[in-house]
Symmetry: C2
Subunit: 298 residues, 2 copies
């Protein structure tokens, strides 16, 4: 590890579907960006590291700099899944190629970005879902327990529940609405048996691809889709109110589903919603600038 | 494969938690039994084959016969998961040690056993859940789509949903009832983070171990547990009514959860419930006696 002043900063935001990198100069001016695949270590450490290196390399290349620049970069990285000690430890032990690497959760850097480094609360709803409040130097995190036992209201949760409902509908146990036809169409399946065999044990990212269709169908009052979206929104409402209990001065929602699920939220939650000031990647750049940041102990 | 008359029949019933074998003489008189671990091939073909051979060997040993007896046995086997073509093909290609092996689903042999080979409908609720109706030579199967996208109302489904609710309660998003304390106790966890890390990605059998506690808590009106049991029972009610549409002369419920969930079912379902005539293993013995049985095409 070098002790000289950095020439570059890089912010990396790694989620369950994709990983984004932003390279800046020493003053924080954007030089280049990169984007790659899934980076949540719960889907495999190798895939996660590959995605991180891939988008970092792209950002350097996009800036017109040689690949060797990487060892002059102070990087800040927020990764989904890093609230779990096992994955945090994996990543802390990584023999990375940067001059310095600060690691934390995707939530933390999103919160830093959304509120320009100031106090506030965020909910991320993309492939997964979770919430964080950062007030007076204290951070609290809720949700984000991973796809199989948590992440309600997320894209993966909506997608796998669309599969579950479609299977019941194909069995004649629920009404067979247009959602079912669209799920069969998207998965290229024709029967319940095919759908179960094709879609059991898929990745969160794969399930999350069905989420936009669930919202499209809910917007035309499809019975099954509406039930799912209302149930997902109910979780997000409860999560938001939990965060409001800490009196955050600002509240933002981030992630691919945020603008789509927002109209379905209750009024008391919607009226506190404010736009993000910066991207999570820029939040990660702010994080890269911190010396010896404290590990998120939540 | 031998062409001589069999000296022995064996019925094998393999589910997601355990595998049972029953050895009879050529007239169907019980000689010995065996029991082993999970045999659903969706949890791994090797584990499944090991469990099958283990309980078969036990049954022969329990009958006081030498291990070499296995090649004089006509076996009939019903396995969970065998409604999926991939797993059926795996098992059909198995170079098994029996004189003959008829394979089908656990549902099929349960239905044969429950109604003594006659027409009827069954619902299995154990680690997984599914329903079958067998009327006038036609079989129809519903549910049984596997743990991740189906099996509502089953032990695994109740167990994983108890985890999901406990995580929400620990996050302060749901009331923290006694169910949560019991789940933490059984899983030896203390926090939401620990619980998520310990219980994500576990086997269906492991989740199903929590199901009895969910019923115990529902029986003392625990809010979270009651909500889960009512939701599970609602699925079983709808599944039963779907089967009733085929006018089966008899209806039985089988599996570890059957006697526990039955009191929670609606009256129209409860009043049609009749006891099983024989065990699924004996159904498998009846199946072993069939020459060239037709593959379940449902």
């Amino acid at each position: 590890m070098t002790t000289q002043q950095p020439l570059y900063y890089m912010g990396i935001d790694g989620g369950g579907s994709k990983c984004r990198a932003l390279l800046t100069d020493a003053e924080g001016k954007e030089l280049g960006t990169g984007q790659s695949g899934p980076a949540n270590p719960n889907q495999g450490l190798d895939q996660s590291l590959n995605s991180i290196l891939d988008c970092a390399t792209q950002a350097i290349d996009n800036a017109g700099l040689p690949a060797s620049t990487i060892d002059k970069v102070y990087a800040g990285m927020g990764l989904a899944g890093l609230n779990l000690p096992k994955y945090y430890q994996w990543m802390a032990n990584w023999d990375h190629p940067f001059a310095r690497l600060n690691i934390s959760t995707d939530l933390h850097i999103a919160c830093l970005g959304a509120h320009g480094g100031g106090d506030g609360a965020v909910i991320i709803t993309g492939t997964g879902s979770c919430g964080m409040v950062n007030v007076k130097g204290q951070r609290r995190q809720f949700g984000g327990h991973g796809f199989t036992v948590g992440d309600q209201g997320s894209g993966a949760w909506l997608g796998i529940n669309a599969i579950r409902q479609s299977l019941q509908a194909l069995d004649g146990l629920l009404p067979k609405t247009d959602l079912v036809e669209r799920v069969l169409d998207l998965t290229q399946c024709q029967t319940a048996r095919e759908l179960a065999q094709t879609m059991a044990g898929q990745s969160p990212a794969k399930y999350a691809k069905l989420a936009p269709v669930v919202f499209e169908q809910a917007n035309v009052k499809d019975e099954l889709a509406t039930e799912l979206v209302i149930k997902g929104a109910d979780y997000i409402n409860r999560l938001a109110r939990r965060l409001f209990g800490y009196n955050p001065p600002r509240f933002s929602m981030i992630g691919g589903l945020a603008p789509i699920i927002a109209p379905w939220l209750d009024e008391d939650v919607k009226e506190r919603l404010q736009p993000s000031l910066h991207s999570p990647e820029m939040g990660a750049v702010l994080f890269a600038q911190q010396d010896n940041p404290k590990r998120d102990t939540l």
